[in-house]
């Protein structure tokens, strides 16, 4: 198992890329949803 650290790093990198990207999408959606709701309220007033 002399190259295990490379295998572990590759395994972590793959999921880190997708996980970080999914987090960024989720946070952008949450911010946009707040903005949409706030504008809808403003327009109703």
């Amino acid at each position: 198992m002399k190259n295990f650290h490379f295998l572990f790093a590759a395994w972590m990198a793959v999921w880190a890329v997708f996980f970080v990207y999914e987090l960024s999408v989720a946070s952008r959606i949450s911010k946009l949803r707040d903005d949409v709701e706030s504008l809808k309220r403003q327009l109703k007033e």
Partner: protein, 238 residues
């Protein structure tokens, strides 16, 4: 939202099983041993990338033909996922190259065309950020996206056309190519897991673009109302 829970659980189970199969079920490769197991995530990343970029290519053409905003939303969403998958493929490639070849990187045809593909789609995303007007942004980025996709078949064919440091293809690579059936089954699981994961995130990313469009329309309504509060247009937009 609740309807997504079973799909998310199924994808998580597939990913978990794929990871387990790649690390513990797949047979050991004779020359590279455990480091060859990177192959399952490496090829999975490229499969997800080619799927995402093919969707983007189709969406770019569909936008130019129909001018329906949903194709633009799908185009940019797929390109972002394609870039994420390409990044994952490049990182796993570098981490496999060092122990297998003794070098992190070399400018051979396969690696160079991959790197160019990554740069092209990063440029696509930068280009979109520079154009304010939505119609113009969608049209120019669709044209650029179609141009960028020309590199994708070149990436696929590069180690068939030229001699490269990168190994010859094991799948559909001619009479000397091939994969152990057990390895093939594990590869099928990991490729499916990564492609399905990519599609699941793509659906989320598409929702983000749809929300952005809704926000733009609401902002326009607010501006119109602020300019002429009693106009028919303001009432219609709000």
């Amino acid at each position: 939202m609740k309807s997504r829970v079973p799909i998310t659980v199924a994808v998580a189970a597939l990913i978990f099983f794929g990871g387990y199969a790649a690390l513990f079920i797949a047979p050991d490769e004779r020359t590279m041993h455990e480091i060859q197991r990177i192959f399952y995530f490496h090829l999975g990343s490229w499969a997800a990338m080619f799927t995402a970029l093919t969707i983007a290519f189709v969406a770019n053409i569909a936008w130019l033909v129909t001018r329906q905003p949903r194709w633009d939303w799908l185009g940019v969403s797929s390109v972002e996922l394609g870039v994420a998958s390409c990044t994952s493929g490049l990182i796993t490639g570098v981490l496999w190259g060092k122990p297998a070849w003794g070098i992190w990187w070399t400018w051979d045809a396969r690696l160079t065309t991959c790197f160019i593909l990554w740069l092209l789609y990063i440029s696509y995303l930068i280009l979109r950020g520079l154009i304010e007007e939505p119609q113009r942004r969608a049209t120019l980025s669709a044209i650029f996206g179609i141009f960028a996709f020309l590199d994708a078949p070149l990436v696929y064919a590069s180690n068939r056309l030229w001699r490269t440091q990168h190994p010859s293809p094991v799948l559909m690579g001619g009479k000397d190519a091939g994969l152990d059936p057990a390895m093939g089954r594990v590869l099928l699981v990991t490729v499916s897991a990564m492609t399905v994961l990519m599609l699941l995130i793509l659906a989320e990313r598409y929702r983000l673009e749809k929300l952005r469009h809704e926000l733009d329309e609401l902002r326009l309504a607010a501006e119109v109302r602020a300019a002429a509060p009693d106009s028919a247009a303001a009432k219609e937009l709000s």
